[in-house]
């Protein structure tokens, strides 16, 4: 996993730089919404 992460790190920094502002914010909002739903599901299951 460290090797995989090391291979991805340079590409990830580049992606953050080149992705348009609105697309970056949309993707962040999408991930956050997914995490919120995931947390809700865990709370509901507990």
């Amino acid at each position: 996993m460290i090797v995989g992460g090391a291979l991805a790190a340079p590409l990830a920094g580049w992606l953050s730089r080149v992705l348009p502002l609105s697309e970056l914010m949309t993707l962040v909002a999408f991930i956050l919404a997914g995490m919120s739903i995931y947390n809700f599901a865990r709370l509901g299951a507990a």
Partner: protein
């Protein structure tokens, strides 16, 4: 030639880091979920992800510095605050009700999601005085250490919601995460009770 398992774990690390590095969040969620789905025992999965994260956050931070995605004035306040919050959180880990923390983090993430969507739709941002860098770092480091939510989603969402450029938020939070992760891991190691002695390593 790579064995099937080795290639699978490299691919998993690559995917998790690509998403986490580019968007500043979700490494633990992706990696831990995938390892559990592959049949890895939970404790081993958690330990593996945290060990890998210590290295990959450093690499991601270096990559963001190389690509000039970092606002150094934010890192200068966020990283020390995150380290302090993380160390405090690691010390009080067992004294807080987990359920309450999870509920708080869930609603916090929802509120930040809505703030970012509002910002996307209207161009209006959150209050920079309320969402100041040092409290964001303290709170995110604290909650990250007690397991209530990851550093990335907590810190990034607040910085983006208050109107910082996403690229600089992601880079600054990513680099700060390295220091926070190392501080939290070191605190856990220093305060663990070694087997059979019951004594604290830190005295």
């Amino acid at each position: 030639m790579l064995s099937g398992d080795l290639a699978l774990y490299i691919a998993l690390g690559f995917t998790a880091q690509l998403i986490d590095g580019a968007l500043g969040m979700a490494y633990s969620l992706i990696a831990t979920s995938a390892l559990l789905a592959l049949g890895t025992p939970p404790a081993f999965a958690s330990a593996s992800v945290h060990a890998a994260e210590t290295v990959t956050t450093g690499l991601a931070g270096a990559s963001h510095a190389w690509h000039r995605n970092i606002d150094w004035s934010v890192v200068g306040r966020l990283a020390p605050a995150g380290v302090i919050g993380g160390i405090i959180g690691a010390h009080v880990l067992t004294e807080l009700p987990e359920g309450m923390v999870r509920i708080f983090v869930t609603f916090y993430l929802m509120a930040m999601t809505l703030s970012i969507v509002r910002c996307l739709l209207t161009g209006r941002t959150g209050n920079r005085e309320i969402l100041a860098t040092v409290p964001i770092g303290l709170g995110s480091g604290f909650l990250d250490a007690i397991g209530g939510g990851g550093w990335g989603p907590l810190a990034n969402s607040a910085l983006i919601a208050r109107g910082d450029r996403p690229r600089h938020s992601i880079g600054s939070v990513g680099l700060s995460e390295f220091f926070v992760t190392v501080a939290i891991s070191a605190t856990f190691v220093a305060t663990l009770d070694p087997p059979n002695t019951g004594a604290s390593w830190s005295g």
